[in-house]
């Protein structure tokens, strides 16, 4: 795996050891010490995944994430100080696909980075599925082109821009119409958590997905919440 990772982290020790860990796992690593520099480096191109600290000088990680999301669906993994607070939700709502809690162990970080890269690469769902026969998937007015990873709405030409996480989530739900998928199941299939994953990852991603595909995100018709159980797509 020779993906290029942009690591934005202000503490030199953490930055260096993280870079060492990622490089020895086979990644190419670019580093930046503050938010502005990180955004500039991203704009220069060639980045497959952004690893973003939340607390950054000059421009904080949340803002960097929002800025990147305006133009790109590149996977973003946040490094957050705390797992059990609003920080995580804000980070996910800013566009992050996943988060790693500080302090982290390097193998754990590498696993999260790999899982994020695998999404959309065809390994977790979509075209990698042996049952895949090339016909586009339908969900209500949506046409999901698995090979081209494009989602379009009937009557409109413009593609709906989904992050890889959102795309995979949509595909997984659309493939099992009417079937309830628990948060733990989705965490396992989309994010690669076998146990004790953070269900807010699912809830926030569903929220972002609905904002893009539903007519009225507050009264969803395509992806429905099943209280106490999980989510299902409309039949």
């Amino acid at each position: 795996m020779d993906a290029t990772i942009l690591l934005v982290e202000d503490d030199p020790s953490i930055r260096e050891v993280t870079a060492i860990g990622l490089r020895s796992a086979g990644f190419t690593v670019e580093v930046a010490a503050d938010g502005r520099a990180g955004l500039d480096r991203y704009a220069a191109g060639g980045i497959d995944l952004v690893l973003l600290d939340v607390m950054l000088p000059r421009m904080d990680g949340l803002e960097v994430a929002r800025e990147i999301r305006r133009t790109s669906t590149v996977p973003i993994v946040m490094l957050t100080a705390r797992a059990d607070t609003i920080d995580v939700v804000v980070g996910l709502e800013a566009g992050a696909d996943d988060y790693v809690r500080k302090p982290f162990e390097v193998p754990e970080l590498v696993a999260r980075v790999r899982a994020a890269l695998r999404r959309g690469s065809g390994a977790s769902s979509g075209s990698g599925d042996p049952a895949f026969d090339g016909t586009p998937l339908r969900l209500g007015p949506l046409t999901i082109d698995l090979q081209g990873r494009r989602v379009t709405r009937d009557g409109r030409d413009q593609e709906i821009a989904l992050t890889r996480t959102e795309f995979d989530l949509l595909v997984d739900l659309a493939r099992h119409p009417g079937q309830v998928l628990g948060r733990d199941v989705l965490l396992d299939r989309i994010w690669g958590y076998d146990y004790l994953g953070d269900s807010r990852l699912v809830d926030v991603a569903i929220g972002r997905l609905r904002a893009k595909i539903e007519n009225d995100p507050s009264a969803p018709e395509l992806i429905l919440t099943v209280r106490g159980a999980g989510y299902k797509s409309a039949r």
Partner: protein, 478 residues
């Protein structure tokens, strides 16, 4: 509030007693005095009248010497006296008498013996006695010439009537005074007790934590002085409490700041140690052991800093429960599989589903299991889920470790408690304190007890309706 009634009753009792005693003494004295004066007055009036009659009226009738009964009757003396409301008896000697009324028939026999004797000697003599039914004053004297002894009998019933009236007036007066005393006692008591009751209410407010409550100082009497002292005492106490609160706040703030500052180097350390651990096998023996210790101790440091930060957030009230539907049996199985796969757990046949904060439940149960692993080497650890109490759900973790001495059971949820430091391994002693904070946030609590046959049993008791037991009812279920 029993004692104000006591003060009221005592004050009223004392005043009534005082008024009653005073009225009695004054009444008896006044009655006796008036009685004596009236008798004296009657006597001197009667004596003067008798002297006048004996020296003027009787000689004026020009009775013959040695008059007969008929002479006396004819003289009309008794009728004259009677017109003045004075009955009379004229003793002619030798048992012959003339009397104005039959009621006087036995008068001479009933008079004390010295009265006729003194009359016989020419003196005026008197006696008080009842004639018929009327209390009377009898005054006797000898008419000039010495033939006739005249006894004037005056009805003095008015004296006892007057005294009786006086007594009634005095009794009514006493009754009025007692009433006045009662009203006065009530008013006085209210005046005395009102500030005391106000002070009582103030003390109650202070007791409930209102450190700004003060007793109003409305008078310059003893109570005013007391209220002033009380307020100064409260000032001092409130000041001390505020200083302690500030100190505690600073202390907690310090802990929060320290753990926050530690986080960055600890994050670097943890990442570095995790890389080092991957390469332990490649190290020479001595270096390798040191590196192993470094990796382990980094883990301990990380746990300690994280636990301190977690507690700091509780201390800063920065935590709130986020509720969602949770299948407790499933959650317990997941945590068990992740943290302590050897622990036994039998999920109830019927799923137990409540609104709760699953992340906090995971944390609590995880800390329970960590504790069991540290103290009982993970052997024979049992998890139970008991939804049978009416309003509560009990999740219990029991182990076969050495247990905890009974007198320490209470303290195991305190911070930095290590019952047996030699067995606590790398534990900080914060795990159960943190679990207790998480439980409290969901309206639950923890308790510890001995397990039958040795070992420790720790229970999480959760209300079935977590949402309702939360202070602000902030249930944001998805």
């Amino acid at each position: 509030m029993r004692w104000p009634r006591g003060v009221r009753a005592r004050l009223a009792g004392a005043l009534v007693l005082l008024v009653a005693a005073t009225s009695l003494v004054l009444g008896v004295g006044a009655t006796a005095f008036v009685d004596a004066r009236l008798h004296q007055q009657a006597l001197s009036d009667a004596a003067a009248q008798a002297t006048f009659d004996l020296t003027v009226t009787v000689p004026g009738r020009q009775l013959p010497d040695e008059p007969t009964v008929d002479d006396v009757i004819r003289s009309g003396l008794t009728d004259t006296f009677r017109r003045r409301n004075v009955e009379s008896l004229i003793d002619l000697g030798a048992g012959e008498t003339v009397k104005s009324s039959d009621a006087l028939s036995d008068l001479l026999e009933r008079l004390p013996a010295d009265v006729p004797a003194r009359v016989g000697r020419g003196e005026l003599a008197y006696a008080w006695l009842d004639v018929g039914t009327a209390p009377s004053l009898v005054v006797g004297g000898l008419a000039p010439g010495g033939d006739l002894a005249v006894y004037f009998v005056r009805d003095v019933a008015e004296i006892s009537q007057a005294v009786g009236q006086l007594r009634v007036v005095l009794l009514v007066g006493a009754a009025v005074l007692i009433l006045v005393a009662l009203v006065t006692a009530r008013t006085l008591a209210r005046g005395i007790l009102a500030p005391i009751e106000e002070a009582g209410r103030t003390a109650e407010r202070i007791e409930r934590g209102d450190l700004l409550a003060r007793v109003p100082v409305t008078s310059h009497d003893e109570f005013g002085t007391w209220a002033d002292r009380f307020n100064r005492m409260t000032d001092t106490l409130a000041d001390s409490i505020r200083r302690l609160e500030v100190a505690q706040h600073q202390n907690r703030r310090f802990v929060a700041d320290v753990s926050h500052e530690l986080r960055t180097p600890v994050t670097a350390l943890v990442a570095e140690a995790s890389i080092l651990r991957e390469h332990l096998d490649a190290m020479p023996h001595d270096t390798r052991r040191t590196a192993e210790l470094l990796v382990n101790d980094t883990g301990r440091l990380r746990d300690l800093v994280e636990e301190l930060m977690e507690l700091s957030r509780f201390d800063a009230d920065a935590e709130e429960a986020v509720l969602e539907r949770v299948d407790l049996g499933k959650l317990i199985e997941t945590v068990r599989d992740a943290r302590s796969p050897k622990a036994t757990f039998q999920a109830p046949a019927k799923p137990v589903v409540i609104d709760a904060d699953p992340r906090r439940l995971e944390r609590i149960l995880g800390n329970f299991l960590d504790n069991a692993r540290e103290h009982a080497d993970d052997k024979d650890v049992q998890i139970e889920l008991d939804p049978s109490p009416p309003d509560e759900i009990v999740i219990a973790v029991t182990d076969r470790g050495p247990g905890v001495p009974e007198d320490r059971l209470e303290t195991i949820f305190d911070r930095f408690t290590k019952v047996d430091p030699s067995r606590s391994g790398g534990s900080s002693g914060l795990g159960l304190a943190i679990a207790a904070e998480h439980a409290a946030l969901m309206g639950g609590y923890l308790q510890a007890m001995d397990r039958d046959g040795g070992g420790l049993r720790i229970e999480l008791i959760l209300p079935k309706d977590v949402a309702r037991s939360l202070p602000s009812g902030d249930a944001s279920a998805t």
